[in-house]
Symmetry: C2
Subunit: 270 residues, 2 copies
């Protein structure tokens, strides 16, 4: 098995996310090792030795994905016997040419605190998602960018948090519980913000499995109950012309990206 | 101003995160437009026209960062008049050579649901973080991977959620409130899980600002109160030999990466 090293003088999150995308194109398993905050020559030397040691132990030349801004640190790491791929500089040179501007490498610009205001907005979005999770309150809906609605355990909470953390979007969520079902009407707080509503639904079998992990063999988790609730809520979505999405086979990243695409909400990049 | 397009047949999150890292090396502002889920030739044509239209309107050739698995769709998008950079294939070819294996491009492998078990673990970690936020309960600490401790508003909650969403780590957090301060001792539930404790602290002035946004001109937010609480908690961290980190100038990504580095907790990659 090949070993993949993600090495960075920052968090290494960019290298990981991107390297993972590249590797996912291959039908292989990899041993993956992340080494962040390699900011000194001494640390760079240790990394080099660790990579070489891995080569000795496994007999397979490791793969090295790196995003290292400092030139000297990078050169030291690159002495390692590895198949090295420079995620940053591969694209920086052609862009310098296109933009007619020299890059000004600086540490920690990617996941740092360069723009305090933007960062604070994002953390405020997380606080908003928590304060408005699961219908705790409906009083702040005027400040919401979006309000996710659906039955219990269809994916509202993780999606709200992801929208906040990744994109700085203020997402509230409201659960339809059994009592709401009979009425088949929108609560007043939702009606007043109808343009912000976005429905989530899920396959009954999948919901049944998820709820069973929470409360096994309960009425709440029974397939019949799941089917009833979902049929009822989907009817409501259609009746009220609320856009909705089936989350059954989608990750929280995919659900979030699809919501942004459907609503035109602007992603804030950090 | 240059316009940057992130185009993908998936969520485009990889393209965004990575492109943002590359662009952050330049001292320029960019207009950034993300177009996810470009899966058909028809959509590809629309994207091409949109990019060309942007060129016409601005007179500046746009930059195109793309991660498109399907060959035909990619070729269609690449007809756009843009400075194009292929984030995936730039590294796939040399890796094919190194690995001695042909890539098997498939859609949605990066942020999809390829591995349901891993995905469910991650969502469970989010549920765990929520159920164990802010000391709501201390009964599940045996199942925690880490327990973040510190005063109110020092960054515990966003960090717990980020650790869960990004890395699938089960992070609880416990706030020291004023009543705890006098005692200067660890609550029993924390003592029993001492090896999982990780402290967060923050500069008094920064805490003062953050709390003021929440409750302006209160005792809670006063600089004096912030100074007292922080001095008290840091004394406790030292007395009990608990590792801790100053979050003042760090983003939630940096705090999380530093915690993983310090504790050796294994990152689960998705």
């Amino acid at each position: 098995m090949h070993t993949v090293f993600y090495v960075s003088d920052g968090t290494a999150i960019t290298a990981e996310v991107f390297g993972h995308a590249v590797l996912s194109q291959f039908p292989l398993a990899f041993e993956q090792i992340t080494i962040p905050f390699v900011e000194t020559l001494e640390k760079a030397r240790q990394v080099r030795m660790r990579i070489d040691e891995q080569f000795r132990q496994t007999g397979v030349r490791p793969i090295l994905f790196h995003t290292i801004v400092d030139h000297q640190v990078r050169e030291e790491v690159l002495k390692a016997q590895a198949s090295s791929h420079d995620f940053l500089n591969t694209f920086v040179s052609p862009l310098e040419h296109e933009l007619g501007v020299k890059a000004e490498p600086r540490l920690h610009r990617t996941h740092g605190m360069e723009n305090r205001k933007l960062y604070d907005d994002r953390i405020e979005a997380v606080n908003f998602a928590l304060a408005n999770d699961d219908g705790i309150t409906t009083k702040e809906y005027d400040e919401a960018d979006i309000i996710l609605i659906g039955v219990s355990r269809c994916g509202k909470t993780p999606t709200s948090l992801y929208l906040a953390l990744q994109f700085g979007i203020r997402a509230a969520n409201y659960p339809f519980i059994e009592q709401d079902m009979g009425v088949l009407d929108l609560p007043a707080a939702l009606k007043a913000n109808r343009h912000k509503l976005f429905g989530l639904t899920i396959a009954p079998q999948r919901l049944h499995e998820i709820r069973n992990q929470r409360r096994a063999n309960s009425r709440y988790s029974s397939l019949e109950q799941c089917e009833q609730e979902l049929a009822c809520v989907e009817r409501l979505f259609r009746q009220e012309a609320i856009r909705f999405l089936d989350t059954s086979s989608h990750s929280v990243e995919e659900i979030s990206a699809k919501i942004l695409e459907a609503t035109g909400l602007r992603r804030q990049l950090y």
